[in-house]
């Protein structure tokens, strides 16, 4: 059982030097590190149980199947889904959203509206542009308020935009660039009132805050294992059972068919219907163990920890000369995005790396939003359960040194 006192000891990668300095990993928005328990689960699987699932009757295959389906049930519990069949394993958030968007592309028509927001990650934006193009539907955006996007979504505009023509409303839970926490339950409620299906991008939230699909009453929810202490290459699409069974599969092949002849095929119900081919068994199992790990620490507590670090970082960074911080000042997710007058994010990141600090600089897959804010890039520090206030000291000292170099 992990404890807060020992949390850093659980993550082997943290205990290294980078450029002669202790690693300060503040790139958790891009991907999080993995606790020993998750790494061990992969090793154990490959050393003891590795086998193909579903179609096997021998001991290893039965063990692998039980572990894989056990991981599905574990993930269902993690997000409050009543039925494990509502959990579809994908490669990650991007694939999950593509599955929904492609399926809806085949059902929407001219006159229908797909609604999303101005703060979406490219992965919750481009698939909807493609779905709109393919179906003839119109894509609309809920605006973001404020010169620094500090005002969040324009909920008054949402009232006007949420017409009965809206068939799908896709939005992020926590913005990976702004740290905005959207009122997702409220957004789902409003969408339901006009009969729109809701798709939540939970990439930045599911590992950082308690989350319950039944309480949110959303229709679809997408996330990535690698952003919540799990392995790379595994993610989830949650879908309401009644909707999943109507959706056409977008990928076909072995494992998802009831029967095949030379003329055609019949599909299994969810979840198999959406999992063509041999699944990523080992990493699904690893994801289940990541759920155990996070729940043992408690996601409410993790959220508080992240929030506290983000608040501290915000306050300390605000003192730096020429800084512009974007996103809300008060309640926010565990990251801070900022830009300096006259010093580019790339140079900031290169200098920070010299000090062992891992930051991300760029458009954070949020180009349209950046353009709206008149920015081409920001530097982002994103926190997770193993980060400490002392690491923020290192960050601030590194930034001061960079500013001194460039601003003189």
């Amino acid at each position: 059982m992990p404890t807060w006192e020992n949390v850093r000891a659980d993550f082997p990668v943290l205990h290294q030097q980078v450029n002669g300095k202790p690693l300060v990993y503040l790139d958790n928005g891009a991907t999080t590190q993995k606790p020993r328990a998750v790494i061990d689960a992969l090793v154990r699987y490959y050393e003891r149980d590795n086998s193909n699932v579903h179609r096997g009757l021998h001991a290893l295959s039965m063990r692998a199947t039980d572990a894989y389906e056990g991981a599905r049930a574990r993930v269902a519990k993690f997000i409050g889904a009543a039925d494990p069949a509502e959990v579809i394993f994908t490669r990650g958030t991007t694939e999950s959203i593509n599955v929904v968007a492609r399926s809806y592309a085949a059902r929407l028509k001219a006159g229908d509206v797909i609604l999303t927001t101005e703060m979406e990650h490219h992965s919750n934006l481009v698939p909807w542009q493609q779905a709109a193009r393919a179906s003839g539907a119109t894509l609309r955006y809920v605006p973001v308020l404020g010169a620094n996007a500090e005002g969040g979504l324009d909920l008054a505009a949402l009232d006007r935009l949420l017409t009965p023509q809206v068939k799908v409303f896709a939005f992020t839970h926590i913005s990976n660039t702004l740290a905005t926490i959207n009122p997702v339950a409220e957004l789902c409620r409003r969408a339901r009132a006009v009969g729109a299906v809701t798709v939540i991008d939970a990439a930045q939230s599911v590992g950082h805050t308690p989350l319950d699909v039944a309480a949110l009453d959303c229709d679809f929810l997408a996330f990535s294992g690698h952003k919540m202490c799990g392995p790379t290459g595994i993610g989830v699409l949650y879908g309401r059972r009644a909707l999943l069974d109507q959706l056409a599969p977008t990928e076909t092949g072995g494992g998802m068919v009831v029967s095949v002849d030379f003329e055609g095929a019949r599909w299994k119900p969810a979840p198999e219907r959406f999992e063509a081919g041999t699944p990523n068994v080992a990493d699904a199992i690893g994801l289940g163990v990541a759920c155990d790990y996070l729940d043992a620490l408690g996601r409410a507590r993790i959220g508080q920890h992240d929030h506290r670090l983000a608040q501290l970082a915000y306050a300390r960074l605000a003192e730096l000369p020429g800084i512009r911080i974007i996103g809300p000042a008060g309640e926010r997710g565990g990251l801070v995005s900022f830009a300096f007058e006259g010093v580019h994010a790339h140079d900031v990141v290169t200098f920070a790396d010299e000090d062992g600090v891992a930051l991300r600089g760029g458009h954070h897959c949020n180009q349209p939003l950046m353009r709206k804010l008149g920015l081409t890039s920001t530097t982002r520090a994103s926190f997770y359960l193993y980060n400490t206030p002392e690491e923020i000291d290192v960050l601030v000292a590194s930034l001061r040194r960079t500013l001194k170099f460039f601003q003189g």
Binding site: L57, T65, D66, V257, V258, P269
Partner: protein
């Protein structure tokens, strides 16, 4: 041979597998349903002659492992003459037996399938014919597939 395997392939099962009862199409059937287990290609069709609410006659046809064939064969002997409600109750007992291994209080041939519970991957084999029969009773046109059931 291990105790588990002996339990799984009891004499009753082997006997029904070798000499299936009520096998083949039922010319007088007024209901039919088809079931398949896509994991392994097992198939089972069940033919019923319903007389009001009562199963006047029943047969099965298909291909599959010893467990699935014996189960379907035994099932036909058990369901003949039963009402739909009785058939459903019997399936519930059978399901309880194959998933828990607990034998029922009344002595019955279906207890022979208690050994299945030690082989979870085979539960689908044991219930395939039953699912088809229940679908036939309900008059469902869509083929039963073990994948849409939780067992």
């Amino acid at each position: 041979m291990s105790a588990e395997l002996t339990e799984l392939y009891q004499q009753v099962i082997l006997d029904h597998n070798r000499r299936p009862r009520n096998r083949g199409k039922l010319p007088t059937a007024n209901r039919v349903a088809h079931g398949d287990n896509p994991s392994c290609g097992d198939q089972c069709s069940v033919y019923l002659r319903l007389d009001g609410d009562r199963i006047a006659d029943i047969s099965f046809d298909g291909s599959g492992c010893a467990i699935s064939q014996a189960s379907a064969s035994l099932m036909t002997t058990q369901l003949k003459g039963k009402t739909a409600a009785e058939a459903e109750a019997l399936f519930r007992s059978f399901h309880e037996i194959v998933t828990t291994g607990r034998e029922p209080e009344e002595i019955s041939d279906i207890a022979a399938f208690a050994g299945v519970h030690a082989f979870p991957a085979r539960i689908k084999c044991a219930t395939l014919g039953w699912h088809a029969a229940l679908n036939a009773l309900k008059g469902e046109a869509a083929p039963a597939t073990t994948e849409s059931h939780t067992d």
